[in-house]
């Protein structure tokens, strides 16, 4: 269903970049879950542009929860979060109206909506909509933490510059939760930022890879067919703008392995069943096996460039060129990281509520 995702717990997104407001309706939550507005603000702040490497658009992301929360706790009824749009300069985009930004949604939106779309600032396709997704996801991130489930994403690479692998997940996740630019190896931060500023200075943009780990998921969640853990997560992840690849565990590298290398040997750790390696990313046959869920997302470079690009005017059906004015991120990898955390929280919460019932997430 179009702008709605989830079965037991669902999120519905609305809004356009330069309309009155964007927002989300989060439904199906257990009653009694704590909603900490400060925590939501922190998550939104992590998603917001920081410093020289991000768009100059400054919007405080002041959200308002208009329903579903009473005395700081979920009521069990739908939570509507509204984020007003304040800092919108529509003039910047007017020239783009029928000139398609290459690899952006301008042309496909026109194919689908026949010119009735509100194309200002990317409209409903704008990355800004992810602020609403993060506000909703923040509530679930916090609720999952209380159930012992922790999610964290680091910047695996920006262009050719790579972070280290995940190591001790408990300490890595703690470390990441406090970072704006989420890199495990502090010595790589400057190199990554250089990569971004280089691209920016050339009117260009740059992509990267995000890697996510989830610890604490119960075993036995997910379905063998169609609603496998990978299926549901990838469904949500691929709806995040700019994601062009998703891989679990060893991912594409597993295709070059022998089974004897790829298989994760089980062993007893006291009473616990664990695996020595985690090439499966915590999922066997679509179902969680109790090991950390690990996946990576490929993030494409932002399509909107200051440099001139060849394109077409899709209304007048002629070739033309385009150099973007407006304010655009040269890289969204470090921001997308928070969005990935949040859609992961939404997806896993939904799976858990389907599995264990609608009260589960609110139970002590």
């Amino acid at each position: 269903m179009k702008n709605t995702f989830g079965n037991s717990i669902s999120v519905t997104l609305f809004g356009e970049s330069h309309g009155k407001a964007i927002g989300a309706v989060l439904d199906g939550l257990a009653p009694g879950i704590e909603v900490d507005e400060e925590f939501i603000k922190n998550i939104l702040a992590r998603r917001r542009p920081v410093g020289a490497i991000s768009t100059a658009r400054r919007e405080p992301d002041n959200f308002e929860i208009v329903s579903g929360v009473f005395y700081g706790k979920t009521t069990g009824t739908p939570i509507c979060i509204v984020i007003p749009n304040t800092d919108t300069r529509s003039g910047d985009y007017s020239a783009m109206r029928s000139v398609a930004r290459p690899s952006h949604a301008d042309y496909t939106a026109y194919c689908k909506y026949h010119g009735f779309e509100d194309a200002r600032g990317g409209g409903h396709f704008s990355g800004r909509i992810t602020a609403a997704l993060c506000a909703a996801g923040a509530i679930l991130l916090s609720a999952l933490n209380k159930k012992g489930i922790y999610i964290a994403t680091h910047i695996k690479s920006i262009g050719e510059v790579s972070d280290r692998e995940f190591g001790d997940l408990d300490s890595d996740i703690t470390k990441l939760s406090n970072m704006d630019f989420a890199v495990l190896d502090d010595s790589m931060v400057n190199a990554m930022i250089s990569e971004i500023t280089d691209a920016k200075n050339e009117g260009d943009s740059i992509g990267g890879v995000l890697e996510t780990a989830v610890v604490g998921m119960p075993t036995g969640v997910g379905e063998p067919w169609f609603d496998s853990t990978e299926s549901l997560l990838s469904h949500a992840l691929f709806s995040v703008p700019a994601i062009k690849g998703v891989e679990f565990g060893a991912g594409f590298a597993i295709s070059k392995m022998r089974g004897s290398q790829a298989n994760d040997p089980f062993y007893m750790d006291g009473e616990c069943i664990k695996t020595k390696t985690n090439n499966s990313g915590g999922i066997n046959g679509g179902i969680t096996n109790g090991m950390p869920i690990v996946f990576r997302c490929a993030v494409r470079p932002t399509p909107t460039l200051m440099a001139e690009q060849q394109t077409v005017d899709f209304k007048n059906k002629c070739d033309t060129t385009l150099a973007a004015a407006g304010r655009h991120d040269p890289c969204i990898v470090h921001r997308a990281r928070t969005v990935i955390d949040c859609v992961t929280a939404i997806t896993l919460s939904d799976m858990l509520a389907s599995r264990f019932g609608t009260d589960w997430l609110g139970e002590k």
Copy 2:
């Protein structure tokens, strides 16, 4: 919803590897679509083991369409396809009953189904269930062809051996439709088969990558949020056993690109809007742009090995080892290719029926 996928057109799977039958219910098809049982047989034959590189299990996949088809055409009501299980030797699997095959679903099935699962031959997790998926998908592959939409998958790599890139898609797709071992560069076939037989001879298994192209999709199909083309395809693809990564267009490689390299410049080809490159894989903002849809799937090596592996007995909670008896594929990449074609056909048909109405797929 568990074993059902799709909104306007849906498929529901049932069956266990060593039960009475497996099958699928395909619902929501337009009335009047031709159902050619010979074509379905050919698709099923492509999925079946061939020669020395596949499992010794020989089952003719004799399917029976018990509803929804009348005088060779769809009626518009649900099509149930039943494939009886005939060649099952359950004894082979009895020793595995509580000893988990590493990276297989034995242990997670037990976590989810508490020991009530029919674990014989992988039960409901068996790759055999994909025969039903292929029978259903074959009907849609054929229906899409009549609407000018063609889908083909080739073996991009087996282990370290790679096929060439897609070239002229029209001729490549035609070529692939006639092949059992779907490789574009004929000179690579033997090297790939050697890779597989090497693994087999060592009691081991091997993975690979499948690459799929779809030509003829209309523009303007897919949704910006949650039901993006990538989201729906990946949802279906990740439910195919052994798939651990999915990437569209340039995929993970795009993460190392600058925007100026990654962007696909639009140009006018007569009255048609096309792009010079296709790093986006035919999808912008989640919506089809009229260029070929291109994606790759990482296929893990089969987890069941003849060689001894370390594992646990999950009922008795102790460490143990396991060497599989039974009949198992050393590689499923060449077989999974047909499954990928079929789930792609199901997913795209569903999207088209949602977009253009329930009669569309049956219209001349």
Copy 3:
């Protein structure tokens, strides 16, 4: 979704009256639920025509469970039940091919399926499809009983002849479970059967009302908006052929009441909260209140009549008349009763699984 109903637990129907088989796929059940084939047979026998007042078509309803059950218990994976069609005399219906039976689905099926429908014996619209629904429902009826939830339906009226009201529900439900012709007041059975045979002798048919009670439902199940208990039940009930009205508690009679009469006063029965009357039918604000769920369904007279009726030939677009040959029930009220029990079981089981998790129905 077309032929599928349910969220956590779903049923998918397939088949045509004179095709190879009809059947159902029941998915989402907890593992470990006992499946008693004798119980299913009894439920199917209750749905089957009995004696002179029913169609002469005699079909044993031999069902086969081809998946999802292992050693007499659910595995947790989809249960496919296939019921082969054996006693089909298609010749009977050939003359009807383009002459619409008034108030039957012949004409609307043609509007929807454009002539590709398998119209023999009502095709996919045939009441026969309810045999598959009952086989699936029987599994859930039995599972609910083990959880202390009991469902029973009696014939409230046939034409102008009425049964008594429900009295002591425990004994009434026990009584009904053993009856083929489910009437609480034994003295009314003959009058009802006379009503049916009178109609039959005149080549006519007759309708009636069914009343259902459910005891043992937990409180707090159902949703305020859209998925209210009434909404979900009526959705399922109105898909049973011939149902034209559904009312809960006092139903339409409540429209003539004052609030002071209609309201059900709460009182403490020991530690239990109960209501003195049950005009709400066990549901307040869409949510179960712990009192018995009570509803009634209006069943129309069978549309197929031996007597001549005025109608049209919808292919040749001309007026004509029709007198049915073939074998048809003069009344389906007493048979529909079992179907109502079964769809009620399916709907409530789905609601309970959504509320309490997928394992709940299988737990001791």
Copy 4:
């Protein structure tokens, strides 16, 4: 799915009576549909209390469309409508906090939400939420009109006072569209209002029946199983608070008919196939037959009474009594009529978009 209804076109409701705002997200609309805010205001005005027979609560229902509409037309992306709550006097309800109003949702909400619910003014169960439903429905009512589909509801009865039957539907529907108190026979208005004021003067409330007609629906819409036209409409209608019965065509009266009376004989009206009677309410086999869709809804008397009622304190588990303070309607039949029109518009639009594609409703 909880507070969301619809497949192709969906509506999601949020909000509590005394929270910050209520609202709806309407998704899946074709682009280019005209959105006339004056028309929406008129529909909301019809739903609002009028004069002495309604609650004294006066709220202007000032709605704001925050997304999905651009230059007065739908963009094709989600439309979020927010209606702020302004006139809320929470103090009035405080005494009710744990004393259940008989037949209201106070107790069942507590069972479901464990005391975390915002119970002020009925919270999420309040009839006020229907204002959001009507704002969303108004957009579709208007869009359907442009496609030649008209929906109207009249007050069939208040208590024992009845309106006349529907006659010439074209003129009846036109007449009703201009009325605040929707009665076909003007001479019955005073008698109905007396019935309401009598109840009010006694601190009591009164119920009634609403009858709805839809003209202009295409043939061939709806599904034989589970998503029959009756199933989808009743699903939506039973989620409207206070509805306890729904019947189509002759409804419960058909249960007393012979088939020869109940059947609607087909005849040719020029090139058109029509039926002489419409006991089927425009639906055969769950599918529209081109005749007007006709149904009736039983509306219960408002449960909140000024007169003292016997009840329990569900937190303290003791018997007690309750006489409501606050402002409450003695009758909601005349107001519910607009809600019925709107949920009918939503349901039929969804069915049409599923059948004919997502662009259909916006096409000229």
